[in-house]
Amino acid sequence: MVLRRWLLASVENLLVAGFAVMIAMVFGNVVLRYGFGSGITISEEVSRMIFVWLTFGGAFLVARENGHLGVQALVNKMPPLGRLVSRVTVELASLFCMGLLITGCWAQAGLNMANPAPVSGIPLGVTYLAGIACGLGIAGLNLQRLFLLLTGRWVEPEPDLPLPAPPPAPNLGPAQNPDRRPDL
């Protein structure tokens, strides 16, 4: 349990650090171009590689929280058996797609590990490793959910709204009509 929390925090920290480097590179390029008449030539290549990793690393974190966009309206109206069958089918389909992602990325990573990017020299295959990592992660989640579904231990997740932290409301003075209910 402790190990798992530590691993998760490490992944998150790595991704946040990557995000910071990406910001520094793209922003630094603007500053250098206008302030000093030069540029970071590797900025475009390296920031794009980080971006691929952020996308697929982040996609795993989102999948962990059941946060990927989907339509649940129909499934929620189904009888329990239909719902179970749907859920299991979805996990299996996702598992299959992740299998394709992993094998496809494996092949492409192999082809491109000896294909260095022109400026930075970093192998282009590095981006495909992000696909493998994400595929393995999400496939693991799929297996875990299948296990829970098939052993009857699955708990329907609460729908999570993509709410950013609301800013504090300004104070307008004392309430004039605090108990007024919305007109129904």
């Binding site: 171009r33 290549e45 491109n112």
Partner: protein, 302 residues
């Protein structure tokens, strides 16, 4: 059997015409057994993506500029050295002959079979600031270059600020002035409508860009000898035809760019540019790969 051919250029480009002719030729020579479907405009992915798809086998043919292949076969960098080719006849001698065969064979290790080498053309400089006739005129210009190390180095030597940028972002960057200029063949300057946002064109011809026309090497090897010969012959013949089409297109494109209002410096001081960049950039190449290949190419100039 259906085969798929992907390239990044627009349908008005000679690549599309040549690709369609290649498709007709294959259909004819195989008695209709093979049909080639052409996907222009990068519809099947970016340059790197289509190369990779051909290597992996999900697309049959691709063509794109030599700089996208130099990661796989670094010695191909020689072709992008500044002021290397003297004329199109020089290009034809090198690329259609044994030297070209040797360079195309370099790609086999990456599971690519280059059937022939087509061309993109002479690279010329455009910008929105001033007419460029001498190296001094380039100093301080923010120029978008390809990520090719030789190109970046050459423009640094000329005192420009090389700004690598995706081609897809280039038009707007030129329009709003994020970069002052760029360098590409006149056919592309016309097709990409850069004349709408660039005032000055200078026929610097500072490099010539070739384009390996590739298919998957394993797939190629599996074909019977007769089919291999059909593919090779069609690729080779189309290389000659496409080169001619491009040469004609360069002349008409230039005329169109002029009538669209671009101010053209037809004879900039190329010797002065070459004096600054050629040796310095060549030295870096020679230090890495020796001078044999470079000397052979230079020796083929008529």
């Amino acid at each position: 059997t259906r085969m798929r051919f992907a390239h990044p250029h627009p349908t008005s480009d000679s690549w599309q015409t040549a690709a369609l002719q290649f498709a007709d030729r294959i259909k004819e020579d195989t008695g209709g057994e093979y049909e080639v479907q052409v996907f222009p405009n990068g519809a099947l992915g970016s340059d790197q993506q289509t190369i990779s798809a051909v290597r992996g086998g999900s697309i049959d043919f691709c063509i794109t500029g030599n700089p996208f292949f130099t990661g796989l076969a670094p010695v191909l960098n020689v072709l992008d050295l500044p002021f290397l080719f003297q004329s199109r006849a020089h290009v034809a001698t090198v690329m259609d002959g044994e030297i070209g065969d040797g360079m195309r064979a370099e790609l086999e290790a990456s599971n690519l079979r280059a059937l022939a080498t087509w061309d993109i053309g002479w690279r010329n400089l455009t910008n929105s600031r001033r007419a460029v006739a001498t190296p001094d005129d380039i100093r301080g210009l923010k120029l978008r270059t390809t990520p090719n190390p030789a190109h970046i180095k050459a423009f640094e030597l000329l005192g420009a600020v090389p700004t690598p940028m995706a081609f897809t972002e280039l038009f707007t960057a030129l329009e709003t002035g994020t970069v002052d200029g760029q360098e590409n063949p006149v056919t592309l300057i016309l097709n990409a409508r850069f004349y709408e946002v660039q005032r000055h064109l200078s026929l610097t011809r500072h490099a010539f860009t070739t384009a390996p026309f590739c298919m998957n090497n394993d797939k190629f090897a599996e074909y019977p000898a007769a089919m291999q010969e059909i593919l090779l012959a069609a690729g080779r013949d189309m290389a000659v035809a496409q080169r001619q089409m491009n040469e004609d297109a360069e002349a008409t494109s230039l005329a169109e760019l002029k009538s669209a209002g671009m101010e053209v410096v037809e004879e900039p001081d190329r010797d002065a540019f070459a004096a600054i960049v050629t040796e310095a950039v060549e030295q870096e190449f020679v230090a890495q790969f020796g001078s044999d290949l470079l000397d052979q190419i230079k020796g083929a100039a008529g």
